[in-house]
């Protein structure tokens, strides 16, 4: 649908900030309107990219877990195998991709903790790759306009 959601959300944020906020008289209501406008700006930034971010991240985490499967305990190997047996999500709704993402990142936390305690070059390299993915995850989710 056009105009697309980011344009509409941006226009709504502008209307709140420019037209409504100056008319609001009490400090708490001013804060509420200002934060609402900021939230719309943040939502607009995520709207177009959200599915792509989650799909890319889910693939990246799957690759890390596959690398880890030779290093970790039998229990964790089984959990990785169970996830591997399932094809990447064909349902591209944000809610479905988020569920898959949460499942993968929950297992990544456990694998990361295990890898930190392992000796050897392979474990160290995997640990560094996991940190690289965590850096990438914040870059994917980065939004402009956050206070601070």
């Amino acid at each position: 649908m056009t105009p697309d959601a980011p344009k509409v959300l941006g226009a709504l944020a502008g209307a709140l900030g420019v037209q409504v906020l100056p008319e609001v008289k009490t400090p708490f209501a001013q804060q509420t309107v200002g934060l609402s406008a900021t939230l719309l700006v943040l939502l607009a930034q995520d709207y177009d990219r959200a599915a792509a971010v989650l799909a890319e991240e889910n693939l990246a985490v799957r690759a890390l877990l596959a690398r880890a499967s030779t290093l970790v305990s039998a229990d964790q190997r089984a959990r990785i195998s169970t996830l591997d047996d399932r094809a990447p999500n064909a349902d591209l709704r944000i809610s479905a991709l988020t569920r898959e993402n949460s499942e993968l990142r929950r297992l990544l936390i456990d694998v990361h903790a295990a890898v930190e305690g392992l000796p050897g070059a392979e474990a160290r390299a995997l640990d560094e790759s996991i940190w690289q993915e965590l850096r990438s995850s914040t870059a994917r989710r980065h939004v402009e306009g956050v206070i601070g």
């Binding site: 400090p27 708490f28 939230l39 943040l42 949460s102 990142r105 936390i109 914040t138 989710r141 980065h142």
Partner: protein, 337 residues
Amino acid sequence: MEAAIARYLEPRIPGAAGLNVSNLFRIPGGASRETWMFDASWSAGGETVTANFILRKDPPASLVESDREVEYTFYDAFAESAVPVPRMRWLEQDESHLNGAFFIMERILGCDSSPRRIQEPDYAEARPMLARQLYEIAAAIHTFDWRQSGIARLIDAPAPETCWSREVAYWEDMIDRNELTPQPIARAAIRWLKRNPPPPAQRVSVVHGDYRVGNFLYTKEGIKGIVDWEMAHLGDPLEDLAWSFMELWRVGTPLMGGIVQRDEAIRTWEAASGLKADREALHWWDVFSGVKAQGIWVTGAKAFDSGKTQEPILAYTSWGLINRQDEILLHSMGRDA
């Protein structure tokens, strides 16, 4: 609500009659309670008396989970001390008066409080003095003899060597209970904190818990009140120092809280407190601050998601702050590049 407040106050002010409440407004501020300002006037002994108050009331849901009696007690303990605080008047645990427990304190008039306001050009001359006062007052909080106050009756004191572990356990549990999605960076930070514990606290001090620009009242003449004590507890004073330095409070400047160089703040605090800010220990508390902040943001996000509240500030914690906090955590752990 005006009438309910008037009904509550009149019998509690000796000799007051015809008490009237006016100018009741909700104001921004405080992570865990609704904050309202109001004026009251009444007749007493043939005279008309007026007073200005702040009311802090438990909301349906909030960023942090805190006990109102604890907050009241910390405020009250610092009355007439070197730490400026508003005078506390009434603590009410009975929820029937205002549909929620609350406390009322006197309002300090004519002050600014915003982290942005202090950045404006007309505050340029006063900023260095306000920064110095901020860390002198922190020293006064951290050297306060809490054992002689109501705090000792209400709060369990940790041992110096368990200050860190108690705080890590508290905030890890907060993330366990409230995260809506897994937090791999915060979890890695928690593991790092446990593997690299700081030295025992030099002294078990009052820790304000949210000590930063934005949580004090100021004019160009100085700091008039330290507020928002809802996360106060006993612990390692370095916790407050590191929290006040967190990147999120720097409002886009390289300065701590947007007002002072880190080393200068440390020097002021050390000179005023007689305590030392060991740089490695302070770094541990820097990383801890990121975990604690993430605990607060995920709690706010869950409160919004659960439908307990629809205040935009709680949705903002999810959309604006959780990823930003992850960026800060990576930086403080030296993992950002």
